[in-house]
């Protein structure tokens, strides 16, 4: 195999031998967003909604209520929770919570849903980013159950995708944590371009956004 390596590298070097070093890439695109937090949250909610996900804005001390009503709406009783999910988010919600302490995938598959936090949210694209932190859990967790309830805190919302990646830079380069960008529920348009929500990932996504403390 190292023969293949040497040969590919030699071919590459031969192919680019005459190529002058190009100038640094121009970066005239937006990397900062002047808008205030309230406006960002507004746009984030609107755009999450465009993906046919449910979105709810609640006071930070009302998250548990919002989770309960969302679960009821989807007739979900037993839900997995990320191991480091803040307890205040579920205190008194009356649901049967199953902490993920290394649940077997088959067990996870029998649950009605999952509750997780997030790392960053992007207003312009209505995207949530998970980075495998304890309040988000491993990647399977937000994938296998059919309902994903995700809590986004107001300060986690940024305007643009470049800002989100910047915030997550250390998580990837220093800690090698995986990232999952989620924009609405799983979907396919493979049959006659008609959009169907849900093939393999959760078919229903509920995003709960906490409001700025006033």
């Amino acid at each position: 195999m190292s023969e293949a390596r040497d040969q590919i590298l030699a071919r590459v070097r031969g192919a680019i031998a005459q190529t002058p070093r190009p100038a640094a890439a121009p970066r005239a695109y937006r990397r900062a967003d002047p808008r205030g937090q309230a406006e960002l949250i507004e746009q984030f909610c609107e755009r999450v909604g465009d993906y046919r996900a449910e979105v709810q804005r609640v006071r930070a001390d009302r998250v548990a209520d919002a989770i309960r009503t969302a679960a009821q709406r989807h007739r979900a009783q037993r839900l997995a929770v990320a191991p480091g999910l803040p307890q205040r988010w579920t205190a008194g919600c009356g649901l049967q919570l199953v902490p993920d302490d290394g649940l077997a995938v088959r067990e996870l598959d029998t649950l009605d849903g999952v509750i997780s936090g997030a790392s960053v949210a992007i207003a312009e694209t209505g995207t949530i980013v998970l980075s495998g932190a304890p309040h988000e859990g491993r990647r399977l967790l937000s994938l296998v159950p059919d309902l994903h309830i995700c809590v986004v805190e107001h300060q986690q919302v940024v305007g643009l995708l470049p800002q989100a990646l910047e915030r997550l830079h250390g998580a990837v380069s220093d800690e090698r944590r995986p990232l999952t960008f989620i924009s609405g529920p799983s979907a396919t348009s493979d049959i006659e371009l008609q959009r169907v929500e849900g093939v393999h990932g959760p078919r229903r996504l509920v995003v709960i956004v906490t409001q700025e403390p006033s």
Binding site: M1, L9, A15, V172, R176
Partner: protein, 464 residues
Amino acid sequence: MRAPGESFPAAAHHELANPQLRANLANATTTIRTKRARVVEELPDWQALRDAGSAIKADVMANLDTYLLEFEAALTAAGATVHWARDGAEACAVVAQVARAHGAQEVVKVKSLATDEIELNRSLAQEGIHALETDFAELILQLDGDWSSHILVPAIHRNRTEIRDLFRRTIAPGIESDEPAVLAEAARLHLRERFLEAKVGVSGANFGVARTGTLCVVESEGNGRMCTTLPPVLVTIIGIEKLVPTLADLEVFLQLLPRSATGERMNPYTSLWTGVSDGDGPQELHVVLLDNGRTRVLADEIGRQALHCIRCSACLNVCPVYSRTGGHAYGSVYPGPIGAILTPQLIGIENAPSLPFASSLCGACYEVCPVKIDIPRVLLHLRARAVDTVGGRGERSAMRAAAWVFARGSRLRAAQRLGRIAQRLLLSGGVIRRLPPPLSAWTRTRDLRPLAPRGFVEERGERE
């Protein structure tokens, strides 16, 4: 479908006889085009993003050896095993070897053009290993022994009743409804069990980050997430051209790709993973760096930009030739304008001399390309090369393709552009050493004369 060895014009005739294909394609390309235009207009800095994307890719190509070594080192440090494959056979052998080592008779696979290109499924089948396609459309095609007609919506040539009947015969006996939601549910049920059982997953990658060794898959359905997180072992095959220098460079491509591809602000799922993570996802990761003709493309200074392609398929959707013939007519894994410039370079122009002629050179592909690949320029360059390489044979196939594009009234729109093309050709005569002979062939096509600008006809007339 294009029979092996059939040239583009012959295959195109064949495909045109399929009304289902034509209607679905027209609908698909128009719908996606409209959606794309809407979300692109929304961004005030779209052109700046394109400029950045184009420049980043040019830098990657100019320093590819350095980036490959950096990528390899980062992956190794992150616990992955790196393999280098000169051709498809070497890449397939790695997958087979990994599957065998884990006693896997089946691998679950997420749609990847690179694995189609190397015919991984066929190669694994010869080893007694079944590669299960998990993308909804790919599953449909696999169940029916059919193949893709569009990069992004590969089964767009099939309608719901056909798919329902197919499912009834295969994975869902007794299914009644042909509602897309019901059909998707049948696929979900069928595949869920296979995901849970799978020992080995196989994926491609949209991007690889040289600095950190991070791999990135962009998708909609979640089957990509399933394949890259559920099985204990993962093999990712990535073309050597798919690298970007740093994590921050993804900020450009993750904006360009979804808007250009499905016309969404962002696709449902984008996954990034960096080697092996403790207790999360596969605990064994193999990464195959695939050449398979890419270094040959890299050696052509004009043609090399075909390697910048991020496979968004925007150029397919705007192409007047593609939207009438569909992907099958190109007889290659990469259809449409990108296929017309990439395939002949990957497999050698002598093996696909008619493909660079499967275009009207209208320039629409260049305008939509998120990384600004100058497809018309590369087409002209390759036409000249085709003629140089295969001589008379090239010219004949060129003539047939050109005649096909321009022969009928229904292709009027394409034909009307000939004036502009001719001008461009004549003006750029200094750049292209000489006018490719097919040009003279075009004027012999009867329908063209009245449409071409007068100067063009006169010029030709003098020559003939």
